[in-house]
Subunit: 341 residues, 2 copies
Amino acid sequence: MPVGTKATVKTISPKELEEDIQAQIILGNTYHLYLRPGHKLIEKAGGLHNFMNWNKPILTDSGGFQVMSLKGLRKITPEGVKFQSHIDGSYHMFTPKKVIEIQNSLGSDIIMSFDECPPYPATKEYVAQSLQTTLRWAKRGKDAHTNTKKQALFGIVQGGIYEDLREESAKRLIEMNFPGYSIGGLAVGESKDDMLKITGLLNKVLPRRKPRYLMGVGTPKDLLDNIANGVDMFDCVMPTRNARNGTIFTWQGKLIIKAARYKQDFSPIDKNCDCYTCKNFSRAYIRHLFNVDEILALRLATLHSLHFYLELVRKTRSAILENRFDQFRKEHENKLDSTRE
Amino acid sequence: MPVGTKATVKTISPKELEEDIQAQIILGNTYHLYLRPGHKLIEKAGGLHNFMNWNKPILTDSGGFQVMSLKGLRKITPEGVKFQSHIDGSYHMFTPKKVIEIQNSLGSDIIMSFDECPPYPATKEYVAQSLQTTLRWAKRGKDAHTNTKKQALFGIVQGGIYEDLREESAKRLIEMNFPGYSIGGLAVGESKDDMLKITGLLNKVLPRRKPRYLMGVGTPKDLLDNIANGVDMFDCVMPTRNARNGTIFTWQGKLIIKAARYKQDFSPIDKNCDCYTCKNFSRAYIRHLFNVDEILALRLATLHSLHFYLELVRKTRSAILENRFDQFRKEHENKLDSTRE
């Protein structure tokens, strides 16, 4: 899912998202939209789809991760999280019920429970206690959510890097019978091995016929590795944010477009790619645009990187359906996260 | 002509320029492109059209206006202008011949003579002397330009706000027989009355069957007023630059999109406009995008304002051809430069 935190996938129009990138679903963020422009305004606009002119599905994050990140500006209580806006310092309170109400106003198709996302590293004792809070909040959110036909509420598995806690978290959520499950609290600083240990474990625990969403992950190789562990959905700012910094993803690895060696390189970013950027512009031109701080640089780089990410998962899906995923993975995994020379 | 100073019309893709804005010609800038990425690199790319993927006509400015603006960093000599790059302080020299060579490398369809653009205000004595320099340089540039079948070289009329100097300038250039004439040195601080006095005079002096290009002008009303004075071509950063600051042009005047009154205004910028922005997004949404510093704000505002400017001249052209220009002008001129309440 391309990330559209503040009701726009950065630099990209909905038309490009649909026609060039072929996104099927995008992500919005409850915390950011609650603060600006406000969920009530979005409700008046007819919901987030209408507001931003995106007619395909939207998933909204619960804001749990964002308010936990406001260190020094937030206080966790058994009822929820009291926090100060990072914009104007104003005080706000997110509770499991409030977060559902906000997402009901937004009208997103898939919504998230409010969770406490523990920091990394954290002691097992801390994570165990935090987990109980998240489970209580999951129950409260589920009880508060009545618009279940139009909006699917996912529970969020927490438990840090501790397998027994993760298993407990998953099983307790499964008892509550959510239509899908998110895996939160990963990609927060732990090793890749720890991440895969947890998704590998959850692959055995979570129901096979319900979607599993790994939040905030990741690199192209992370996607393949976690798809191998049964993950169905991802979101990550990596393709968009890195593109804006001049790091562009390709099947042959990351291309650092500002590098001097591309100064007179009149070939496209990827000659086999059929995105608008690669069909029409050279590395030399895109490098020039970055060099003179032109916005078209950010657009062209983002368009290609999102196109690549979506193509990566489309091709992975085909490989799975054609029973050749392992071969596909072996063929690509070593190059994907490398940096092109 | 939308302005594409550094080989891109700011925030806009060539596809949008062609399909949504329906631009027939755009402007590039010799000074900026000479410094970055360098005209030799653009020549290696197959010229500016290829480099930036724009297959319709391009006009390039000579850089005269830009190097004159480098106060303290440039020295005018009879041979040309020695200047320091505004980027790295490196020394360079533009002569009438050099500026033609650069534009030959760029391969633009319409190119400009190197001119000395006097400041405003300036004494008549200064302007008279400066004018002689510009005329000598026009001759040298014309002699240096051999690729006349592919690139039309325009002479630039100077002379400040002094009618006799403007007339002398125009007549001397006409003797040199350029395929088109630019009117430089206006919109530099003089009154609107002075500007129209000069274009009104030149309307009687310049040949009727050759194009007249008023450089760096202007507001929507400026366009109508100067079209009435026989001007055929314009360029101005106003639609693009103002859009990026949140001032959006419409038939009913300038709309300040960040104003609080648009916070819950779910109507488009202009309900009668058929641009992508107006067909798909509300004022409330665009205001939100500006408020949270999203690049899509700049794109949507620019797209509309360029669409409006091009529609303004298309409709003006129709009105002229249908012999109802005066009526058309009266109907619109009072609203165009106003600010919408």
